[in-house]
C-alpha cells in the first residue's frame, strides 16, 4: 500500500518572501535588456509576479513573455496522444537581450533543455539565465538554475506542487511524498 504524506513547504507569505528575494537577486545583475520568460503553465504567473516586484521595489520595467515547450519535448513520440499546446508569446526581438527563464519546479532539466532550444528559434540572446521557485534535484541533464527560491531533497516518486492563485487554490508549495506503508 502506498501512503501519501503532504507537507506544506511554503505558504502564501513564504512564497512572496522567496519571490522578493529572487527579484532582488535578478535586479542585482542589472536591467540591461532584461526579459522574463515564464514556462507554461505556472512559470508564466511566477514571471508576472517577479515583474511586478521588480517594478515596485527596484524600479525595473522588465517585459514578460511566455513559452510553451510542448512542441520541443523529447518524449512526444513515446507518450501517445498529443498534449494540449498553449500559446507562446515572446515580445519583440530577443537578440542581444538578457533572458531570465522562470519556472516553478526544476526537476529533470528536460523542460529547460526544450525551452533553450525553443528560445534559440526566436533569436540569439546575449545571456540566458534560469530562475526557479523550487529545485527538487533529480537532474537527468547537465542543467542548473542561476536563481533558486527553495532547495528540496525530494525522492523520485515524490511530488512537489506549486499553486498559484490564477490556476489553483491560493499560493503555496507542498511536498507530497509517497511512502510504502507496512
Amino acid at each position: 500500500m502506498v501512503r501519501e504524506d503532504t507537507q506544506l513547504l511554503l505558504d502564501a507569505g513564504g512564497v512572496e518572501e522567496v519571490l522578493e528575494r529572487l527579484a532582488r537577486d535578478v535586479a542585482e545583475q542589472g536591467d540591461d535588456g532584461l526579459l522574463l520568460v515564464g514556462i507554461r503553465r505556472r512559470g508564466v504567473q511566477l514571471a508576472a509576479r517577479l515583474a511586478s516586484i521588480l517594478k515596485e521595489s527596484h524600479g525595473i520595467d522588465a517585459p514578460t513573455g511566455s513559452l510553451d515547450i510542448t512542441l520541443y519535448r523529447d518524449d512526444l513520440h513515446q507518450i501517445g496522444p498529443m498534449p494540449v499546446i498553449g500559446v507562446t508569446e515572446i515580445p519583440g526581438d530577443i537578440t542581444g537581450s538578457r533572458v531570465v527563464i522562470v519556472d516553478d519546479v526544476l526537476f529533470t532539466g528536460r523542460t529547460i533543455r526544450a525551452a533553450l532550444q525553443e528560445l534559440a528559434d526566436f533569436g540569439r540572446p546575449r545571456k540566458i539565465e534560469l530562475c526557479v521557485l523550487v529545485d527538487r534535484g533529480g537532474r537527468e541533464l547537465p542543467i542548473q538554475a542561476d536563481y533558486v527560491g527553495l532547495n528540496v531533497a525530494a525522492g523520485e516518486r515524490d511530488l512537489v506542487e506549486v499553486r498559484v492563485p490564477e490556476l489553483d487554490d491560493g499560493l503555496s508549495v507542498t511536498l507530497v511524498s509517497a511512502t510504502e506503508a507496512q
Binding site: 518524449d75 512526444l76 501517445g80 496522444p81 498553449g86 500559446v87 528559434d121 533569436g123
Partner: protein
C-alpha cells in the same frame, strides 16, 4: 497537469468530417490556434515531427492545398516527398493498391492523398498502417478545407454557433461544400446553399440545408458567404449556359452585397474565377477573408498532422501523466 483536453475521437486517419463529433472538430480548431504563431516566427520550424516521413500523393492537380500541406509538414520538421501522378492511367483501383504497397514498403509515416475518385482516401487508409489525410477525394470530402473555413469564420465572428452561412455555386460537384455542411452543422451553424438548380443536389434539404435560388435572397439571409469556384468544364457539360450568364445571375458583386442588412464575411476556397462567381472588388474588398483563409490553412493542417502523429487514443491517460 490539469489542462482540460477535449475528448478527441480522431483515429489513425482524417478522411472527412461526416463522422467526427463537434467536440473533436472544436478540438482541432483549438489546436490550430497556437500553430498560427509558429508561422510568424523568424525561424518557422518546430521539431515536433522530426524524423517523420510524409508523402504528398496528388493524383489531381493542386497548387494551394499541396503547398499548404507542404509548408505545414516542413514547419513541423517532417521530411516530405511530393508525388504528383496525373492522367488517367493511375486513377484505377489496382494502381492505388500498388501505390499503397510501395509506400508501405518504404516505411513512411503519413500520406496526404488527393484523388479524383470519391472514397480513395478511405481505400488507402484501410490498406496501410500509416496515417492518411484526405486532401480531397472526388466529390466526397475535403476536410482540411472545411476546417480552415471554420477557423476563419470563428476568427471573424468569435463563434460558429448560430451563424448563418450560405455556400454559393456548384454544390453538387463540391467536396468542399459537403465537408463544410457537416462541419458547420456539427458546430451549430445554420447552413444554406445557393446556385442554379442543375448544380444543387436534389436531396440536399434532407440534410437540413436551406436552398436559395436567388443569390439576392441568400445575401439577405446570410452572415457569411462561402463562394465556390465554378469549374469551367461544367459549362461544356451543359450545367450552365455561359460564364457571363452565371455571373449575371449568381455572381457575388459589390452592388449585391450592398443590399445586405448586415456586413457579410466572404470566403472562397480558391482559385478564384474573378468576374465569374466573384467580382474583384468583392474578392479584394474589406469583407473578404480569402487571404486569412490561406494563412489559417497552414495552421489547421499543422494541427491535424500534430494530432494524428499522437497515435492511439487509448493512451490518453499516459499522455496526461507525461505532461508534468
Amino acid at each position: 497537469m490539469n489542462e482540460t483536453r477535449p475528448k478527441m475521437e480522431l483515429g489513425k486517419d482524417l478522411i472527412g468530417l461526416e463522422h467526427l463529433s463537434g467536440e473533436t472538430i472544436r478540438g482541432i480548431l483549438d489546436t490550430a490556434e497556437p500553430f498560427k504563431e509558429i508561422s510568424e516566427r523568424a525561424i518557422k520550424k518546430v521539431p515536433v515531427l522530426r524524423g517523420k516521413t510524409i508523402v504528398n500523393l496528388f493524383f489531381e492537380p493542386s497548387t494551394r492545398t499541396r503547398i499548404s500541406f507542404e509548408f505545414a509538414e516542413k514547419r513541423l520538421g517532417a521530411d516530405t516527398v511530393n508525388v504528383a501522378a496525373s492522367g488517367s492511367s493511375v486513377v484505377k483501383g489496382e494502381t492505388l493498391v500498388d501505390t499503397a504497397r510501395n509506400l508501405e514498403a518504404m516505411r513512411i509515416d503519413m500520406v496526404v492523398i488527393r484523388h479524383g475518385s470519391s472514397g480513395a482516401a478511405q481505400f488507402l487508409a484501410d490498406r496501410i498502417p500509416s496515417n492518411v489525410i484526405n486532401g480531397g477525394d472526388g466529390q466526397h470530402e475535403h476536410p482540411t478545407q472545411a476546417l480552415l473555413d471554420l477557423l476563419t469564420l470563428r476568427d471573424s465572428f468569435g463563434r460558429i454557433e448560430g451563424l448563418k452561412v450560405c455556400i454559393v455555386g456548384d454544390v453538387v460537384h463540391s467536396r468542399v461544400a459537403r465537408s463544410n455542411i457537416y462541419g458547420l452543422q456539427k458546430l451549430g451553424a445554420e447552413v444554406a446553399v445557393c446556385g442554379p438548380k442543375s448544380l444543387i443536389p436534389a436531396s440536399i434539404e434532407d440534410m437540413g440545408v436551406q436552398v436559395f435560388t436567388h443569390v439576392e435572397d441568400a445575401i439577405q439571409w446570410s452572415d457569411a458567404l462561402n463562394i465556390l469556384r465554378l469549374q469551367l468544364e461544367r459549362m461544356n457539360a451543359g450545367f450552365i449556359p455561359s460564364l457571363r450568364e452565371y455571373n449575371r445571375v449568381y455572381g457575388v458583386t459589390k452592388s449585391r452585397l450592398e443590399q445586405a442588412p448586415r456586413e457579410i464575411v466572404v470566403l472562397h476556397p480558391g482559385p478564384m474565377n474573378r468576374g465569374v462567381e466573384i467580382d474583384s472588388d468583392v474578392a479584394d474588398g474589406p469583407q473578404s477573408v480569402i487571404l486569412p483563409q490561406v494563412t489559417n490553412g497552414v495552421a489547421v493542417r499543422m494541427a491535424v498532422l500534430y494530432l494524428l502523429a499522437g497515435g492511439a487514443p487509448e493512451r490518453a491517460e499516459e499522455a496526461k501523466k507525461g505532461e508534468a
